[in-house]
């Protein structure tokens, strides 16, 4: 089992690491091992509008989508966890539906729907779509945190004379903050990595990084894609290592 597991880990890891040497390669095409090394394509990435603009769009969209997701999820999670009411399972199904519906179906739906509202090819359009699609993941994380919340803390604050608002701001929110942050991070990453819906609706006006990568692979084999991949992989490696070693709580990020 151990050998099989390590082989599988190698299968997972090796392809991700191969993009690093590729990014320093001088080759115009996808050649491995690289014939020689330089930094030229890094310079190209950091100076070309063609790549910087989608990168910036992706950041703006991911932040906007994250805000929209949290706006939808936080009140809903409180209502869902703290109350019993009729139609709860229907509500659960509604909130989870963006996860159940295949992304390509959602993409087609948004293409038609946002197209009618003249929102395809705009940042708000993609923010709406990504914000809605990230709702289930954020909801799962935040309801899990809420379920683990000890309500005696609130009762104690109230009995000590704090009003509901004060209790919420000074007791409930601080305790829930880590869970909320993880939920927000999930929403951000879900938007930042999303490709299919963006391909359908982002157009030229709001092209995201994954869309640009898709097109550069499909149409022109631009070696700059190795640079972008390396930067993205570095960010992921940094984030995961930080969470594993600094906080020693890797499970929190994965299977909440």
């Amino acid at each position: 089992m151990l050998v099989l597991a390590l082989l599988a880990a190698l299968f997972l890891l090796a392809p991700i690491l191969i993009v690093v040497p590729m990014s320093f390669s001088t080759a115009i095409s996808f050649q491995f091992p690289p014939p020689a090394y330089w930094l030229g394509y890094y310079r190209k990435f950091f100076t070309s509008e063609e790549w910087l603009e989608p990168a910036l769009n992706s950041l703006i969209i991911a932040v906007g989508a994250m805000a929209l997701t949290m706006l939808l999820v936080v009140p809903a999670a409180f209502g869902y966890v703290r109350y019993r009411f009729r139609g709860k399972s229907m509500v659960n199904l509604l909130i989870m539906s963006p996860l159940i519906v295949p992304h390509v179906v959602s993409a087609l739906a948004y293409y038609g729907f946002l197209g009618r509202a003249k929102l395809t090819g705009t940042l708000p359009g993609v923010i709406i779509a990504h914000g809605v699609l990230a709702v289930p993941v954020a909801f799962l994380v935040i309801t899990a945190t809420l379920k683990g919340f000890d309500r005696n803390l609130e009762r104690a604050a109230m009995s000590a004379g704090a009003g509901p608002l004060r209790t919420f701001v000074h007791v409930t929110l601080p305790v829930l903050r880590p869970g909320m942050l993880v939920g927000a991070l999930f929403a951000f990453l879900s938007s930042f990595n999303e490709a299919v819906v963006a391909l359908f609706i982002a157009g030229r006006g709001a092209a995201t990084l994954p869309k640009k990568m898709y097109e550069s692979i499909r149409l022109e084999s631009d070696p700059v894609i190795a640079v972008v991949s390396t930067l993205l992989v570095s960010a992921v490696v940094l984030g995961v290592l930080l969470s594993v070693f600094a906080r020693r709580r890797p499970s929190m990020r994965l299977d909440t």
């Binding site: 089992m1 890891l13 392809p15 491995f32 209502g79 869902y80 539906s97 299919v196 190795a226 299977d255």
Partner: protein, 277 residues
């Protein structure tokens, strides 16, 4: 009674706006697709008839289904040992594996698809190894069904591992100790005790991977061949190249229905809460 009503009101005050927004911004667009599939260009069921009778399209359906089955099986076979070691061992090996799985999980689809493009390409390491070993020219790997299946397996593997791991780490070690103390050899203890207890994870992971695979788009387009089209490629082609809204919508509805059936079956036997819980 009044108290209950007030509680209900509070719940809906919190949930209402979000639910309304989800209906407007998600259910309505999806319903619009359903509507288009029977009304574009006029009221008709012809699109559905075409999907299930024209061999070109039935082949896409069959191919999507088979590919998803193969990818799911491959993910299960490769992922099970990883999750097993992660759950049963403590210390650095478990941490190492978890770190690798997490990295893979968070790396975007496009980065990983690009990586396979390099590895399988005609100037890639495999082609290079062929030449170095004097085996002549490597077979065409890229833009084949093999490449797209491999790419999808690689991308969906972390989901399978995490689903398996979530169940396996809850298995009580004492069950295995009890089996051993009753004289079961390690192999038998695994077969008779651990494997059955891990089955819910197998079901969860398989559902997750299978359903994701049914609607997979980016990787088959970039690594595969148009001859072995997946459903989502068909949808994109109909919209992108032909602007055939009605037909594309009908294909999307078929995909949605297939996904719905798989999930409904799962819900019937296992309950959806357990997948998300």
């Amino acid at each position: 009674m009044a108290g209950r009503l007030r509680r209900n009101a509070a719940a809906w005050l919190l949930l209402g706006p979000s639910c309304l927004a989800l209906v407007l911004l998600f259910v309505v667009p999806i319903a619009y697709v359903l509507l288009l599939s029977v009304t574009d260009p006029r009221l008709t069921l012809a699109h559905y008839q075409r999907i299930f009778t024209v061999p070109l399209y039935t082949r896409v359906l069959v191919n999507t289904f088979l590919t998803s089955l193969i990818v799911t099986t491959a993910c299960l076979l490769i992922g099970y040992p990883v999750a097993y070691v992660m759950a049963r061992r403590s210390g650095w090996i478990s941490t190492l594996l978890l770190t690798i799985v997490a990295m893979s999980f968070w790396t975007g689809f496009l980065v990983r698809t690009y990586a396979w493009l390099v590895i399988l390409g005609s100037k890639g390491p495999i082609a290079g190894a062929y030449q170095a070993l004097g085996l002549g020219k490597a077979p065409q790997l890229l833009f084949t069904t093999f490449a797209s299946t491999l790419g999808m397996t690689h991308i969906l593997l972390p989901y399978m591992i995490l689903a398996l791991f979530a169940i396996m780490k809850k298995i009580d070690v004492n069950h295995l100790k009890a089996a051993a103390s009753l004289g079961a050899r390690p192999g038998a203890a695994f077969r008779e005790v651990f494997l059955p207890l891990s089955l819910p994870g197998v079901v969860n992971g398989s559902l997750l991977v299978f359903v994701s695979c049914l609607g997979f788009f980016v990787t088959p387009v970039l690594l595969g061949t148009p001859r072995d089209m997946m459903i989502s490629q068909l949808i994109n082609q109909q919209i992108d190249e032909l602007l055939a809204w009605g037909f594309a919508a009908a294909v999307a509805v078929v995909l949605l229905a297939a996904t719905g059936v798989v999930i409904a079956v799962y819900n019937r036997f296992a309950g959806l809460d357990r997948l998300w819980g």
